[in-house]
């Protein structure tokens, strides 16, 4: 039976991963669309920025977030003075760290699914009276759905395991930012914390398996809906 502390970490991990995934989703779709269907001057730069968290060490990403969004950072200062929002040391900060780290994975999955949809179908929809947006939403989007779902789940799973950027940007505050990976790390450091660490690891495994099972169910559901085998 998990202790309150363990449940806290579990609940926090789920909360952070879910919010991070949901918040990233529209942005990731926009980025995927820009990269797949348009050609504008800064496209290569956008591609690089989107994929940066994939190639940079997570701690570096956390540090960059801290520089920009920390108390003394340019964006952080503006957020605080204009809207009273502080991200460092808060769950919001943990969400941001997780979202940034999992963003490239989501964009890649969505972009692939977008590119797999025949662009000619959208033209067919246009000749039938659909506007550009209507054609995208009515035709391309439903056909992209398996890719979007898979991208979201990959991002969710990645967020569950996010450590480096979180601990650097949001720190390790119990109840606020101490997600499962951070809780395990703390337990390992603590004298005689091995048992706690093992229990948390078990919890993480259960969560991972649960997420994978959910992914499988979602994937099958969507495929059936689209009439695919």
């Amino acid at each position: 039976m998990p202790t309150p502390v363990e449940l806290d970490a579990l609940w926090l991990s789920l909360k952070v991963a879910t919010i991070a995934t949901l918040v990233s989703l529209p942005l990731a779709m926009l980025a995927a669309w820009l990269l797949a269907r348009t050609s504008f001057a800064g496209r290569t730069a956008l591609d690089a920025v989107v994929h940066a968290p994939l190639v940079l060490p997570p701690v570096v990403v956390g540090y960059l977030l801290l520089m920009a969004l920390g108390a003394r950072g340019p964006v952080g200062r503006w957020l605080d003075s204009a809207m009273g929002i502080r991200l460092a040391f808060t769950t919001g900060g943990a969400v941001l760290a997780a979202a940034v780290m999992s963003f490239p994975l989501m964009v890649r999955a969505i972009r692939l699914s977008l590119e797999a949809v025949d662009g000619g179908l959208e033209w067919a929809a246009r000749t039938l009276g659909a506007t550009r947006l209507d054609a995208f939403v009515s035709v391309t989007l439903p056909l992209m759905l398996p890719g979007i779902v898979s991208g979201a789940i990959v991002a969710f799973a990645s967020s569950l395991g996010e450590f480096g950027a979180t601990i650097t940007f949001a720190s390790n505050i119990e109840g606020e930012t101490r997600t499962l990976p951070l809780a395990i790390y703390t337990a390992i450091q603590t004298p005689d914390g091995d048992l706690i660490a093992l229990r948390l690891v078990g919890l993480s495994l259960a969560l991972a398996i649960g997420a994978l099972a959910l992914a499988e169910v979602a994937d099958r559901r969507v495929r059936r809906m689209l009439g695919r085998p």
Binding site: G120, W123, R126, T127, G129, L226
Partner: protein
């Protein structure tokens, strides 16, 4: 009037088309692969934008590069039937059909869902998914879907290209039915002259990005100078006939036109129905008097109106038969031997065998019932 005067470059290819076509009936767009037919209709639909020029139908301007006016495809109400049908795989057949219809909520919809389903005979396909349909069925749905969007003009881009011969005949008859029922102007793109001869009233010939010929079908078809484009021995006359009577014993049909009668292999069409016949020049022989002891059943009386020598070997003889013009391709030797002259009365002889399904634009006789035609 459909007025098109556009220029568009695609890589090394340049389309420079200038023509006017009637905004009623079916205009055929004929040309080899790569001639620019698809580019042209893509420009008309708004899928491509011209580099320069103007497209207008009955004074409604769709795009004008100089005046910087462009109507988006969804605003043009120009229907499009694609070669690969492009049905939406995530929607049922019914949802596909209703796709365009739904988007014209406020506007009047004279082409009704039930009418289209009825004409195309697809009622039993409505709950299915496009992936489960055959090629012929898919094209039928594509036709219906484009129609239900209430287009003012329908563009068909080689709609039969991906179908096998029996399906082609089937879909062709559906297109004819649609034309008759809904009176929709169409532009029909094809590299098959047989299809166009059957359907088109007006013909445009595209070659290397330019319009090589434009005009009424019969006129363009009879122009032997277009032989390189139309195909060496394809030139001839197109005659509009009416089914007069069927002879079940000999399995022949009599067709009548104002220049006389034609005996053809049995045509599965009711009496009184229109059938177009192509009389290829090479299938016609000439006689100075009506032959009696000869097997050829089709003998048409006419007057020679023109000669033209071809390759130094053959002579193209134009014969006026009633109000129809018929052409015969005979050897120069024969012309001299018979001492043919302009104004001379001659008999044009056509073997019944030569008037096969292809000449009648019937690639295969349609089956007895319409329902049967719907099944594979």
């Amino acid at each position: 009037m459909i007025e098109v005067c556009v220029r568009r470059r695609l890589g090394a290819f340049l389309l420079d088309a200038d023509f006017a076509a009637p905004s009623q009936g079916i205009t055929g767009l004929f040309g080899r692969s790569g001639a620019g037919k698809t580019t042209l209709i893509n420009l008309m639909a708004g899928i491509l934008a011209p580099d320069a020029g103007r497209i207008a139908i009955d004074d409604l301007v769709f795009c004008d590069a100089d005046a910087r006016v462009t109507l988006a495809p969804e605003a043009r109400r120009i229907g499009f039937v694609f070669q690969d049908s492009r049905l939406f795989p995530h929607l049922s057949v019914e949802a596909n059909l209703r796709f365009g219809l739904r988007r014209r909520r406020q506007a009047p919809c004279p082409i009704t869902f039930d009418a289209v389903v009825d004409v195309l005979g697809v009622d039993h396909l409505l709950p299915r998914r496009p992936q489960t349909l055959s090629g012929g069925e898919r094209q039928r749905i594509a036709l219906g879907r484009a129609l239900l969007a209430q287009p003012r003009l329908l563009l068909l881009d080689e709609p039969l290209a991906s179908l096998d011969a029996p399906r082609k005949a089937e879909i062709l008859s559906y297109i004819e039915r649609l034309r008759d029922q809904f009176r929709l102007p169409m532009i029909y793109v094809s590299h098959s002259l047989d299809e166009l001869i059957r359907l088109a009233d007006h013909l445009l010939v595209v070659s290397d990005g330019r319009i090589a010929a434009a005009g009424p079908l019969a006129d363009v078809i009879s122009r032997l100078d277009l032989q390189p484009l139309l195909g060496r021995f394809e030139a001839g006359a197109v005659v509009d006939c009416v089914v007069q009577a069927h002879d079940p014993h000999y399995r022949l049909t009599t067709l009548r036109f104002d220049g006389g009668q034609l005996r053809v292999p049995l045509v599965d069409r009711p009496e009184g129905e229109r059938v177009r016949v192509r009389l290829r020049a090479r299938d016609i022989a000439l006689a100075l008097s009506e032959p009696r002891d000869v097997s050829i059943s089709n003998r048409l009386v006419g007057t020679i109106s023109d000669f033209a020598v071809r390759d130094g070997v053959f002579v193209d003889v134009t014969v006026a038969v009633g109000t129809t013009t018929v052409r015969a391709l005979i050897s120069r030797e024969s012309k001299d031997r018979l001492a043919l002259e302009i104004g001379q009365r001659v008999w044009a002889l056509v073997k019944t065998v030569a008037l096969d399904n292809r000449s009648l634009g019937l690639l295969r006789p349609p089956r007895a019932t319409d329902r049967d035609a719907g099944r594979e």
